[in-house]
Amino acid sequence: MITLNVNGESHQLDVSPEMPLLWAIRDKLNLTGTKFGCGHAMCGACVVHLDGEAARSCSIMVGEAAGKKITTIEGISGPVAEAVTHAWQSLDVVQCGYCQSGQIMSAIVLLNENKNPTDEDINLGMEGNICRCGTYLRIRRAIHQAAKALA
């Protein structure tokens, strides 16, 4: 049995400690907002927060995540998360939407670490999140808008 703390709740899971965190979240806890993209930590669709840090859940074992505070897109809260989500909605950032949970999770960490990011900061901070629809310009605009709302 492994105990995972996800979105403030404690869950006992009968899984191998080597199971990637992503599959524990999606298949065992049925929190399907976190997506499977590449499975190799290259695309960012699976980003969650581990103790507030962005982490690629496809490449982190459940055993490593045990004891940490895991937050998924379903569990984000607080002023930064609200500002980011609001900006995403008001600018209609999404198209197909598949990567956007990961984009939002990365954007929250970026804004937690940098209250007023420049275009270049955003490009660097969001570099690991791929969007096949090409919504990058709106993502950048939304992050600026969220930063402004939080200032």
Binding site: K35, F36, I73, G97
Partner: protein, 337 residues
């Protein structure tokens, strides 16, 4: 050599059979490979078939005044749920902020793609075009039903009823929201003749409205195909050949089946599927699976060979969809800057 999709093992079915097969289990996302079909259908002089417009099939209006469009099309980011809702809301005189969407159940007879039906299908850029008249008629019919219900309830002539932003009134004291009158309205007969708004009166069509799918896609609640969960559902991961078109001859599942959570291994036409109680089990089973492939009918041309063929094909005359008038003569006469 012309690429003939029909001779490849993946495409050994007629287009219509494929669509029917896909529609039997779920709606179909029609691949770009089938675009010529819809183009032919669009070229028919009489236009696409007429579809049903009974609002009871396409709208759900609830006591909270929300108006839910039942979308016959898949949302893949192209914005079709927003687009279809725009058509309905325009004719219904609904408040855009009250619009929602839900996906239609598997009922091809009702939610038929009017261009390439009778199947439920989304693709080939047909969605808005095939729904253009039907969805507006749904909204207009619903509006007429609200008018009829309000006129009966308030005992006033239908001509006295106004609808604005989802509020029904008669201009002299009576007022009701869609939610308040929905039950009555949906019981009134569906009008046999509906009149659509002239384009000069459009308030939503042609404008930019906020996407209806933004919220779900920014909160992790939007359901993608891979997010569907059913009781007892297994997850299949398919081992596929390295060469497009190769077929499995035999497989050795002994190692795969040793992995906890792997339930079965099944050969399918294009590969071998490992079924697991969760995705990770199926993935590991797939890694452990050994498959022998027959690549005799596989695609063996290189990228540069295929590109060379494309270039050669591009120099040949294309397919003609509609042919009206004399385009060449028109072009010759046209003003040129």
């Amino acid at each position: 050599m012309r690429v003939n999709l029909a001779t490849l093992p993946f495409f050994d079915f007629s287009r219509r059979e494929f669509l029917k097969g896909a529609a039997a289990t779920a709606g179909a996302f029609v691949l770009g490979a089938y675009i010529p079909f819809s183009r032919e259908a669009f070229a028919q002089e009489q236009g696409p078939a007429k579809g049903p417009y009974d609002p009871n099939l396409f709208l759900k209006i609830e006591t909270d005044n929300s108006v839910t469009l039942i979308s016959k099309h898949f949302e893949m980011g192209q914005g079709v749920t927003t687009g279809l809702a725009t058509l309905v809301a325009e004719e219904l005189d609904a408040d855009w902020s009250a619009m929602r969407f839900a996906f239609a159940p598997n009922e091809p007879a009702v939610y038929n793609n009017l261009v390439f039906g009778p199947v439920m299908g989304t693709g080939g850029s047909t969605s808005m075009a095939e729904s253009w008249e039907q969805a507006r008629k749904v909204g207009a019919a619903a509006r007429m039903m609200f008018v009829a219900a309000a006129a009966a309830k308030w005992n006033v002539p239908a001509s006295a009823i106004k609808i604005e932003m989802g509020v029904i009134s008669n201009g002299s004291g009576h007022r009701a929201t869609f939610g308040e009158l929905a039950a009555d309205a949906m019981k009134t007969p569906v009008p046999t003749e509906v009149v659509l708004k002239p384009s000069q009166q459009w308030q939503l069509i042609g404008t930019r409205v906020p996407r209806l799918d933004s919220k779900g896609k920014t909160t992790g609640t939007a359901v993608f195909a891979g997010d569907i969960r059913r009781p007892g559902m297994l997850t299949a991961v398919v081992k596929r050949p390295e060469q497009f078109g190769a077929k499995p001859v035999s497989f050795d599942a002994s190692e795969a089946k040793k992995i906890a959570g792997v339930v079965d291994v099944v050969q399918i036409s294009r590969g071998v599927a490992v079924l697991g109680t969760d995705t990770w089990a199926a993935m590991r089973g797939c890694d452990a699976l050994k498959v022998t492939w027959d690549a005799s009918a596989a695609e063996k041309r290189s990228t540069s060979e295929i590109l060379a063929e494309y270039r050669q094909l591009a120099g040949q005359p294309g397919l003609v969809a509609p042919g009206r008038g004399d385009a060449a003569a028109g072009m010759a006469r046209a003003a040129k800057s």
